[in-house]
Structures are given as structure tokens and as C-alpha cells.
């Protein structure tokens, strides 16, 4: 082989080696960029997932609060009307003895009869409101005629602090039956809130 041929061979080998080195480096660089881009994509994906998880958590909480607020609003309306009904009923009951005395006499006689039926004996004492003094004799007569049995009713000298109704005592004052508007309304309220609501919410 001539010197020139050798020289060319050496140069060619060097250039090929240089080419291989550069190609190798280019491939490595390409891989490096691909890996970096994949890593960047993963970082962004992870951030998105983490953010979505937090946002979904936030959504659940906020929507749950909104539902609670909404339900409370609906419940508040129901409660407001229930209380208004009871308040209005109480107001009208307070006025009833004056506005509808005939009805009240009947009601009072029935209240006394109910008290008597829940106690024992034939002699009773009743406690009434000061306002009912003027009608009580008439009411007692109605009671006697309704009961159709021999009973004795005495009116207590102490007055009842109520808007209407009566307390019926046994003769010895040991047993008694409270039958005032207030006691009946209180009992009714505690037992019938559901029924009142049903009436209030009846849609047809």
C-alpha cells in the first residue's frame, strides 16, 4: 500500500469515527430530549391529577354545603309556617271566649266533663278564669244536663291564670285534671306537629 493510500485510509477511518461519535451524540441528545419531554409531560399530568383531586374534593364539600343550605331554607319555611299556624291558633283561642261566647260555654262545659270523667267521685271543685265567673253557673248547668248524673261542682275562690278552660279537682283537691287552652294547645303541639305540617303541605 502506498503512503498516500495509507494516509487516505487513516483520514477515512478518523472521519468515520468522528461521524460515528457525532451520530451517537445526536442519538443520545434526541433520547435525552425525548426523556425530558416525557418527564415534563408526567410532571404536568401529575400536577393536573393532584389539582383535579383537590378540586373534586372542594366541589363535593361546596355542593354538600349548598344542599344543606338549600334544605335548611326549605325547612325554615316549613318551620316558620308551622309556628305561625300555632301562634295564630293561640291568638284566636285567646279571643274566642269574647268573640264566640256561646261556643265557649259549650267548650268549657265539655272541658269540665272531660276532667270529671278522668277523676273519681261525685263532688268536684273547679278553678276558672276571672272572666268566666259571669257564665260559670250556666256552664255548670250545661255540664249537669250533659252528664245526666248527680254531681256537685263547687267553684274555687282562687282564679285560674289562663286564656280559657278549667282545672277540675276532686273534692279533697288531691287529684286534678288541667284542661286549659294552654295545656291542651301544648299537648296538641307536642303530639301533632307532623299532622299540622301534612295539612300545610297538602298540595291539592
Amino acid at each position: 500500500m502506498s503512503i498516500e493510500a495509507l494516509r487516505l485510509e487513516i483520514r477515512k477511518a478518523a472521519e468515520e469515527e468522528a461521524k460515528r461519535i457525532l451520530e451517537d451524540a445526536e442519538q443520545k441528545a434526541k433520547n435525552m430530549l425525548n426523556e425530558a419531554e416525557q418527564k415534563a409531560k408526567n410532571i404536568i399530568e401529575k400536577k393536573i391529577q393532584e389539582t383535579m383531586r383537590k378540586l373534586e374534593e372542594k366541589e363535593k364539600v361546596e355542593l354538600a354545603i349548598a344542599r344543606i343550605d338549600g334544605k335548611k331554607k326549605v325547612l325554615d319555611i316549613k318551620s316558620k309556617y308551622l309556628e305561625n299556624v300555632l301562634k295564630e291558633a293561640e291568638n284566636r283561642l285567646n279571643k274566642l271566649p269574647l268573640e264566640n261566647p256561646e261556643l265557649y260555654k259549650n267548650v268549657l262545659s265539655d272541658f269540665i266533663i272531660e276532667g270529671i270523667k278522668n277523676l273519681e267521685g261525685t263532688k268536684f271543685v273547679i278553678k276558672i278564669t276571672p272572666r268566666d265567673q259571669s257564665i260559670i253557673n250556666e256552664v255548670i248547668n250545661i255540664v249537669k244536663s250533659k252528664l245526666k248524673k248527680n254531681i256537685e261542682i263547687t267553684v274555687s275562690s282562687e282564679f285560674l291564670n289562663a286564656s280559657g278552660g278549667v282545672i277540675v279537682y276532686t273534692e279533697d283537691m288531691r287529684l286534678y285534671y288541667i284542661n286549659t287552652f294552654e295545656s291542651r294547645l301544648m299537648k296538641f303541639k307536642s303530639e301533632n306537629r307532623g299532622k299540622i305540617l301534612d295539612i300545610l303541605l297538602k298540595s291539592s
Binding site: I3, L6, R7, I10, R11, A14, E15, E17, A18, I21, L22, A25, K28, A29, M32, L33, A36, K39, A40, K41, I43, I44, K47, I48, T51, M52, L55, E59, L63, A66, R67, D69, G70, K71, K73, D76, I77, K78, Y81, V85, L86, E88, A89, R92, L93, L96, L103, V107, D110, F111, F181, L185, F188, N192, K195, I196, I199, L200, L201, K202
Partner: protein, 103 residues
């Protein structure tokens, strides 16, 4: 002797060609490494996608929340109207029950 010198010279040239290529390759890898690091750093620091996501999702939450509240508002209004309509009857029911008679 001159021929050997020429060959030695050529060897040196060849070494230089390879060395240059190695330097070029190293520089390329170095630059690429910097670029790759920058790509990753940008991904770590760039919150524009997240900000947009938060904005969009928060808007969605607000809309859903408003819809829920609106539905309950409608329900409350409907219930209020029904209650108004039945109010007198309910009062009468309470009074009649307390009195034990029908008024």
C-alpha cells in the same frame, strides 16, 4: 523518513478530527442536557395549565352550586305558596282539635 513523518502527521490530523468530533459531541450533549433541564424546570414552574384548570373547575362548581340553590329556592317558594294556601285550614284544624269541636 519523510513518508513516516507524513503518516505521523496524518495520525495527528486523524486524532484531531476525532477529538474535534468528541468535543462537538460533548458540547451537543451539554447543550441538550441544559435544554432538557430547562424543559423539566419549565414543566415544574409553569402553572398556566393548572391555573386554567382551577378557573374552569371553579366556574363549574359555582354553576352547580347556583343550580342547587336555585332549585331549593324554587322548592321553598313553592312550599311557601302551598303553606299560604293551607294556612287558614291548618289554623282551623289546630283550634278545632284544641277545643274538641268543629268551628
Amino acid at each position: 523518513m519523510s513518508a513516516i513523518k507524513e503518516l505521523i502527521e496524518e495520525e495527528k490530523n486523524a486524532e484531531k478530527i476525532i477529538k474535534d468530533a468528541e468535543e462537538k459531541a460533548n458540547q451537543l450533549l451539554l447543550n441538550t442536557k441544559k435544554k432538557a433541564d430547562e424543559i423539566i424546570k419549565n414543566a415544574e414552574n409553569d402553572d398556566s395549565v393548572i391555573k386554567e384548570l382551577i378557573l374552569r373547575k371553579e366556574q363549574e362548581i359555582i354553576e352547580k352550586r347556583n343550580n342547587i340553590l336555585k332549585n331549593y329556592d324554587n322548592e321553598a317558594e313553592e312550599i311557601e305558596n302551598i303553606c299560604k294556601k293551607n294556612f287558614e285550614y291548618a289554623v282551623k284544624f289546630v283550634i278545632d282539635s284544641v277545643l274538641g269541636v268543629s268551628t
